[in-house]
Symmetry: C2
Subunit: 155 residues, 2 copies
């Protein structure tokens, strides 16, 4: 089986998973250290979605490391189907959480000027956290599209 | 070429496009008739994203009607690639717009109780419009996945 960029059991796939983990963790950390994130449900949803993303990407990164060490081929249709479904679920949740938080952020910073009215809110940290979440989502989209394409070419 | 469910030039594909158009138009109409939608940028973004969705789905519905009338096969790799890229762009925008509006809606209805404090806002209409947008997005996802699968099986 020719190794596809970003597919399971390949070095590029492992790198993508590690980057997803890092960006999602950075998003959680930035949001958790900000003041007043609990004022909006969307920010809490972002933390939950990124938490799920960290767990999923970390699990797959461990699987990739194991496969690379024992030189095991992970590109079977059943495993690829499971990974692609999981990737789709986490990617959808990540985009929904990042977008809803971005919607609230625009309301806070522009529409209602809440950031100026309440200087205690860490608006800059909210923005950084949302940006990290969008990066994590983009990397999951790359992984899932590669695997979906590989799966379709196998069937 | 065996007709795939939901692919271009097939009756099921045409039905999907018409439903996408209807739900996206309903979302725009509900939001446009509500009072105070301009208080949040996300609601204006929802109208724009659904407007793009209507244009895209209406164009493809016309193409499907033409193909069905003259019995033309639309399932060529170049046309399918163009449709799948367009579907992805509109689906991403639709999900981002619906999610950001949902985030603002939760803030209005629960976190900040703005719906109770300002009874002039048509909060129920906002919610109905967002629900329509999610339906439209879901139908585009079905179309795009079907076409991506068909494209991968052709290549």
């Amino acid at each position: 089986m020719k190794p596809w960029f970003g597919s399971p059991g390949v070095t590029s796939g492992l790198m993508l998973r590690i980057l997803q983990c890092l960006f999602a963790s950075a998003s959680i950390a930035t949001m958790a250290f900000s003041t007043g994130f609990s004022t909006a449900t969307s920010f809490c949803f972002l933390i939950s979605a990124m938490g799920l993303q960290v767990l999923w990407s970390f699990g797959l990164a461990c699987l990739d490391i194991h496969a690379l060490r024992v030189k095991k081929d992970l590109q079977t249709p059943i495993l690829l189907s499971l990974v692609v479904v999981g990737d789709w679920v986490t990617a959808l949740l990540a985009l929904a959480a990042a977008s809803s938080s971005a919607g609230v952020m625009v309301l806070y910073a522009r529409d209602a000027d809440i950031c100026k009215l309440d200087p205690k809110l860490s608006c800059h940290l909210f923005q950084i956290s949302i940006a990290f979440a969008f990066f994590a989502w983009f990397l999951v989209v790359i992984s899932s599209h590669t695997i979906l394409w590989l799966l379709a070419s196998l069937s």
